[in-house]
């Protein structure tokens, strides 16, 4: 399998070609972060700047969030992981981005890291100089040497259960297909009897910053219900009840649309497991309607289609 530095070189080549040929005016990708365990979005508009593009286990951001604004009336290049590509598929299906306006440099992905997990695994973040995957392990290099952290202690949660590791669509494929790794079990409380108490505790922490919404490629509404004053759907005060209204409504809006990239969960400053809601709704969508969000083979939207054999909740009261 191509190692990460080879893939990085290929990303730069493809970005350079697309810029030089004039096919795109800008390539969105990941650049070196201010610390080695982070990356930052970069917008490359000159072929000589492609050296700024990086590929490493900290390429977490789902850059599709920038597409609805940036690719509205011009073609842009984007470096994308398989999950990010599922977001792009959704944006195309929902007519927020034209397929011909994106040049996708698709990268096979073995998962990205969660800095909080690393900290919990007693990695001193300040000492990290570089990170690299080796098989199922993360190789952490520090000023004093290297150590190995198991994937279970370093991967982001949704990467542990991810089964789309190869780009579904792309214009330039970079790196080899990545085989599905053995699933690492994660703790999902599921629909237990006390789920109301569970979510009440989660939402009680919400500070109403709406960062989950801002980082979400599927939350592209120009005017969000949460910001509306007339009618006011949810008040701005940070109470469990109001936060519940916000998160439950947002989850319903994302049913069959969220592709589970987990950006909302990554950036939540109070650790609310927002993506669990979407995961649950997507499981229902799959179970009842056979719908797989972000899959390019789906012909239409979950909520925009009807078949006679569709599950009818009114006739199946649980």
């Amino acid at each position: 399998m191509a190692d990460m530095s080879e893939i990085q070189t290929r990303i730069r080549e493809e970005a350079g070609k697309a810029l030089e040929s004039g096919e795109v005016g800008v390539v969105i990708g990941w650049g070196a972060g201010s610390v080695p365990f982070k990356t930052t979005p970069v917008f490359i508009d000159k072929a000589q700047d492609v050296e700024k593009l990086v590929w490493n286990p900290a390429c977490t951001n789902n850059l599709a969030v920038y597409l609805p604004k940036m690719a509205r009336d011009r073609k842009v290049g984007i470096v994308a992981k398989p999950c990010d590509i599922r977001s792009i598929v959704t944006l195309i299906r929902e007519k927020q981005v034209k397929r011909e306006n994106v040049f996708i440099i698709g990268v096979g992905c073995a998962g990205v890291i969660d800095a909080r997990s690393l900290e919990n695994a007693n990695v001193r973040l300040s000492e990290i100089t570089s990170l690299e995957w080796s098989g199922n392990d993360l190789i952490v290099t520090t000023q004093t040497g290297t150590s190995t952290v198991a994937a279970a202690d370093s991967l982001r949660e949704q990467c542990k259960v991810c089964d789309s590791r190869t780009p579904a669509i792309c214009d330039a494929a970079v790196g080899d297909a990545v085989p599905r790794s053995e699933e690492i079990s994660i703790d999902i409380p599921g629909l237990s009897e006390d789920r109301k108490a569970y979510w009440a505790e989660q939402f009680s922490r919400c500070i109403r910053c709406y960062a989950c919404r801002q980082v979400c490629p599927a939350c592209y509404c120009r005017s969000c219900f949460a910001d509306r004053v007339e009618p006011r759907w949810t008040a701005k005060k940070a109470t469990t009840q109001e936060a519940w209204m916000f998160h439950a409504t947002r989850a319903m809006h994302l049913a069959g649309r969220c592709i589970g990239c987990g950006e909302c969960e990554r950036i939540c400053p109070v650790g609310i497991r927002v993506v669990e809601l979407a995961r649950e709704l997507n499981a229902i969508a799959k179970d009842r309607y056979g719908f797989d969000a972000g899959n390019p083979e789906e012909e239409t939207h979950l909520l925009g289609s009807y078949r006679d054999e569709d599950f009818d909740p009114a006739q199946h009261s649980e």
């Binding site: 972060g33 610390v35 930052t40 709406y210």
Partner: protein
């Protein structure tokens, strides 16, 4: 005022004794989330050694939801209530020094001689503020680069230093000295004092950056191209200010709840589109660029001009949490570098 040490196994009893005289406010551990400053009660695990990520103390002093006025009508009469917080002695423990200094910044806004906010004042005025120096500095701190931390230390009532099995306790004010209870404290050894000084030196050297000691308010520029660069990647989530210990912007909303109306205060931020949106539809900060510029200039320039304080205390939360890695340390380094100055002037 003499320095003392207190063994960690006496902390539980010390806190219990404090609770007899004060309402004790400290970061309380929560599963999956940063600890939160609360009035500690039964079953709470306070973290007073500063070792864990925590929400800011402003969440206690300036709650995310605070009812200012409640108007209720009952049997034809109208009852107006202003639920001011209880006036009682409070002690706040486990506060990072950066956060303690951020409270000084909040004081300038809410206890200004021209306008005293009675809600904030009630919680703040009878508060004994104890800052803690943890055994390990957080990687994101850059306190010593933004301001004179020796001065910050004089602004708290007492300092605690985590020396492993004990805390070094350094009273700064009479209020701080009043916390020392002979039963729990003893005199420090020379080794204790040396270790304390070592911790302090470590803190002063943490996050020492090229802009340290520079007058940031003179170096930041309105027309710096960096604001456009930040704005391009910024997603406008506002977490940098919601999680900031010194950001103080709030919104006031009225809400009808049954037969009553409540007017409450909640958070707001210059990073949101509707922060400056006028009723008639005009928005003077129409896109992210002026919003990104506003936050930095407000902290480093306007607050300095207005109050003589630096509005950022280098706590590093925005550095750790920004989802697109806009690192304020990098921004300040770049805006203060000679190269950048030449670029702007040339």
């Amino acid at each position: 005022m003499t320095d003392k040490v207190i063994s960690k196994d006496k902390i539980g009893d010390f806190l219990a004794a404090l609770e007899g005289k004060y309402t004790v406010v400290a970061p309380v551990e929560r599963a999956d989330a940063p600890a939160e400053f609360r009035e500690i009660g039964a079953g709470d695990t306070p973290i007073i050694d500063g070792s864990k990520p925590m929400m800011t103390p402003k969440d206690y002093l300036l709650p995310r939801y605070e009812v200012l006025v409640k108007v209720a009508s009952e049997d034809g009469s109208v009852n107006v209530e202003t639920p001011l917080p209880e006036d009682k002695p409070r002690v706040m423990l486990g506060v990072w020094l950066a956060d303690a200094q951020a409270i000084k910044v909040l004081d300038r806004v809410f206890l200004d001689r021209n306008f005293v906010d009675p809600y904030y004042a009630r919680r703040r005025e009878n508060l004994t503020l104890v800052a803690v120096m943890p055994a390990q500095m957080r990687w994101s701190w850059f306190c010593a680069s933004v301001d004179d931390v020796e001065e910050w230390k004089r602004n708290v009532d007492a300092m605690m230093y985590d020396l492993g099995d004990r805390f070094y306790f350094e009273p700064v004010s009479e209020k701080g000295a009043a916390l020392v209870d002979g039963v729990f404290f003893s005199d420090p050894s020379e080794a204790d004092t040396a270790r304390k000084n070592e911790l302090w030196d470590q803190f002063k050297n943490t996050g020492a950056l090229p802009f340290a000691g520079k007058a940031l308010y003179e170096n930041l520029r309105w027309d710096d191209p960096i604001w456009g660069e930040i704005a391009q990647k910024c997603i406008g989530c506002g977490m940098c200010s919601y999680m900031c210990p010194s950001c103080s912007c709030f919104d006031i909303q009225d809400e009808v709840c049954g037969a009553c109306v409540e007017r409450y205060r909640c958070r707001d931020t210059c990073q949101f589109e509707d922060f400056t949106l006028m009723g008639a539809g005009h928005n003077p900060r129409a896109n992210q660029l002026p919003r990104s510029r506003q936050r930095l200039l407000h902290k480093f320039m306007y607050q300095h001009q207005q109050f003589g304080v630096v509005g950022c205390t280098g706590c590093g939360r925005c550095v750790e949490l920004c989802p697109v890695n806009v690192d304020i340390r990098e921004v300040l380094t770049r805006t203060c570098s000679d190269e950048m100055e030449q670029k702007v002037e040339g």
